[in-house]
Symmetry: C2
Subunit: 295 residues, 2 copies
């Protein structure tokens, strides 16, 4: 490879499913001269080194960002603020701070005021994932064919945005730029509400009497198991997402509840035509997703 | 093959996803000396013949059941009653009437009084499926490793139950016998509620303003697309299921709504501990399903 790496040194702060998948692409394509991760737990650090995901591992975020021209926050979003407060004095001039969190407005509101003018802030969200967690769960192909959304605050250096964009393009993603608040409204319906609903219904099932619960597991192939997959995602990450995008989630949930009440009424009153009309409409949406190659 | 076929002649009344998958197994394993399907639409009959799923196809249910020792109802459950009223005088002595519907108590209540003593009634539900419909969508492996539930009314001939069980065992299913009402309670939570929720949330998304709806499709990989898959199932079939299992669906929905309200409150009031507790519990259910090999 004659081309220079995209980055001199990338610091992955946290290295779970997304961070470790990105680290695998960076290693595979030689996108950084060196890499380091900061992780609180020793077993995570050991796994990251054993799997060869990074060159170095530390539990000290200050040590991790030393010499890094890209600091990628890959922890649950609730941990960002304390981390950034700790690393700010030690960020290299010209460094880029980016992230992979599923909530963006809160991240911009919290972090932008903390970051000095000598660094660039390019918040991001690679819209990809599985229900698995941790550095072992990652894989380089996770991002292929999916979208990454960047939400740089007004005034962010275009060069910094371009470098982060180039990184996600190398992962096989298409990259969109949008306003952080708009991102949160879109993700509230595509991701946050579906997860909330799945967490709810699986909880409802787990509260059933013992014998019925055993049967629910046995016959889960009839629809339920798809919800349990979604409801197996990382609890801390999802707590932070729901609390971090509270307003949009609650508003979307309100719409959902109204629609559910309408279907409930149709069932109670035996209004078959209304059910058919609704189910035919939702089938068309599935068709659109297949056409958009996101199925 | 020296063993005699399980059945002399099987009549498939309706031949969609499930019926055509069963017909494929019957053909593959030589489980009947001859087969016939009754389907209203000419294109379905032509497809069934073109695909070699059955020996004969007719639009006349009376002609279809002539000479059949197994009449398998494979239409949406709402069509059963009129069909059975039409075929009853023409059923062979000793014939078995069975079905594949996702609702059982209503089917037993409606059909058992119509059926004469000279035939056996063995209602069934192979708990398997995909979001696709029609004879082209079926495949013989659909049932492998899944459960089939039979709900014979008290007094049903054990020999008839054994013959229907043998058929589903040949499909690779495990077979359970249970009370029809219990079946409906279990399926309300494992299948009917998940489908209702999926239909609702996809409807909520389809009501969004145009630009937002386009983005929902674009970023559907973040959770939403799993719901759209479920919400693409056959509208008529699902109308009949919700209306046919109304009581259990509404009761389960009530529990779900209470649980959703509790999570909504936790988000509104920022109760992160409650969210973590809930999400950790649902993760354990996923583990049970993986352990039960139904993931």
């Amino acid at each position: 490879m004659s081309a220079a790496p995209l980055f001199r040194r990338i610091a992955f702060i946290g290295i779970g499913l997304i961070g470790s998948s990105l680290a695998r692409v960076v290693r595979r394509d030689g996108l950084a001269e060196s890499t380091v991760t900061c992780a609180r737990s020793e077993s995570t650090r050991n796994a990251a080194l054993r799997l060869g995901l990074v060159d170095e591992a530390t539990d000290d975020p200050v040590a991790a960002v030393k010499g890094a021209d890209l600091v990628m926050l890959c922890t649950p979003v609730g941990a960002y603020r304390a981390l950034v407060e700790a690393i700010v004095p030690h960020l290299e001039p010209g460094a880029i701070v980016s992230d992979i969190g599923s909530v963006k407005q809160k991240v911009v509101d919290e972090l932008a005021p903390l970051l000095p003018a000598r660094v660039s802030f390019v918040p991001g969200h690679p819209v990809a994932g599985t229900e698995h967690s941790g550095p072992e769960a990652g894989f380089a192909e996770l991002f292929v064919g999916r979208w990454c959304i960047l939400t740089p605050p007004p005034g962010t250096s275009p060069e910094a945005v371009d470098r982060v964009r180039a990184l996600w393009l190398k992962c096989g993603m298409a990259v969109d730029i949008m306003d952080a608040g708009h991102h949160d409204r879109v993700l509230a319906i595509t991701s946050h509400l579906p997860h909330l609903i799945a967490y709810t219904i699986v909880g409802t099932a787990s509260d059933l009497e013992d014998d019925l619960r055993q049967e629910v597991i046995k016959y889960s192939a009839s629809g339920f198991r798809d919800f349990t997959r979604i409801a197996a995602s990382d609890p801390v990450m999802w707590r932070d997402i729901f609390l971090g995008n509270r307003e949009a989630v609650l508003e979307t949930l309100q719409r959902f509840t109204e629609d559910l009440t309408a279907l409930q009424r149709a069932i109670r009153w035996g209004d078959g035509d209304k059910l058919i009309e609704h189910f035919t409409r939702t089938r068309a949406i599935r068709r659109s997703i297949i056409d958009a190659k996101q199925a």
